[in-house]
Symmetry: C2
Subunit: 158 residues, 2 copies
DNA sequence: GACATAATGCAACTGAATTGCATAAAGGTC
DNA sequence: GACCTTTATGCAATTCAGTTGCATTATGTC
């Protein structure tokens, strides 16, 4: 969990001026256990430190471009942003609940994808990998499984 | 590669009336080596069998709902659609070129993700998995790497 | 053929993100 | 501090992909 000072120094390390806006955004991401959508970040900001949503998008883009933040795709049409895991071994899948849209980090060691092996035979340059699991989250499973219909579209039979 | 008759019978198998539109869409997907965006499908259709784009979206949704077609997320904001691999073992990652936006199927056997293992400890219900590799495709690598700037945003340092 | 149901078309709308340009803040030089 | 350049933020309008509501047309059943 990154606190204000951490966020500031992280920004400085990357040669980015630690403006209040940037520090706030990075702090929110650092305090969240799971990646957040711009909307969620925006809502959190509104309460204490309102900013224009374009600014938020630009800050997120910049943080991603400098490797401080990771942008992942969820099952829906909005991206999620989370602090970038420093070590390449901390890569992990994310679970997307197609009912409520929530995202969770999944730390499982039964994931063995040898990108290097694929790279040997694949003609393009592989820079990144993303693994997503789709399904129904714990909460939605018990809150009787069909109350307020969410975005069920992503569920498809294999 | 599914031909007209194949598409028709596939639809019938699922109890769907094989209308010309549906047969065409399924045929296009069957003839493509890689998943296509609605835009690409639409453009292909325009030449021979124009249809309203809402109809296309509805047909794609239906095909996915009935398991004939798989909808995957690429690095950008548009979904891609491809014939659903019948056997669960045919699951494979997809490569997304962040420069030109093209998608390729990656058939590699160095992918070992035991969803069952994850399911043992994960409290939600896992229904599906999606693996995506991001990078620069063969073509974009050689066509001197910085001509018409594409959607470079997805590229982020690990 | 009359009727019910399913499929398609059309227009307007939505949500997420982007673009262009104006304004404000930060930094450097004298 | 005044002056200028660069960087950051705000605001309005726009794009892009997909969705919704409702009218119209096809398809099937008796
Ligand atoms: Mn995570
Ligand atoms: Mn494929
Ligand atoms: Zn849920
Ligand atoms: Zn490419």
């Amino acid at each position: 969990m990154a606190h204000r000072e951490d966020s500031t120094s992280l920004l400085k390390q990357k040669g980015l001026t630690p403006t209040p806006h940037r520090v706030m955004v990075l702090g929110i991401l650092g305090n969240s256990p799971s990646p957040l959508s711009p909307q969620e970040i925006f809502a959190t900001l509104q309460r204490s430190h309102p900013m224009n949503r374009v600014t938020l998008y630009r800050i997120l883009d910049m943080l991603v471009a400098h490797g401080l933040v990771e942008r992942i795709q969820s099952g829906d049409r909005a991206f999620r942003y989370g602090l970038n895991a420093q070590s390449p071994h901390a890569e992990h899948p994310h679970f997307y609940c197609s009912h409520c849209g929530s995202i969770q980090c999944v730390h499982a060691d039964s994931i063995h994808v040898q990108v290097e092996d694929i790279q040997k035979t694949f003609p393009g340059l592989i820079q990144r990998m993303e693994i997503r699991l789709d399904g129904i989250c714990k909460n939605c499973l018990r809150n009787h499984k069909g109350k307020k219909a969410g975005n069920e579209r992503a569920a498809q039979k294999p």
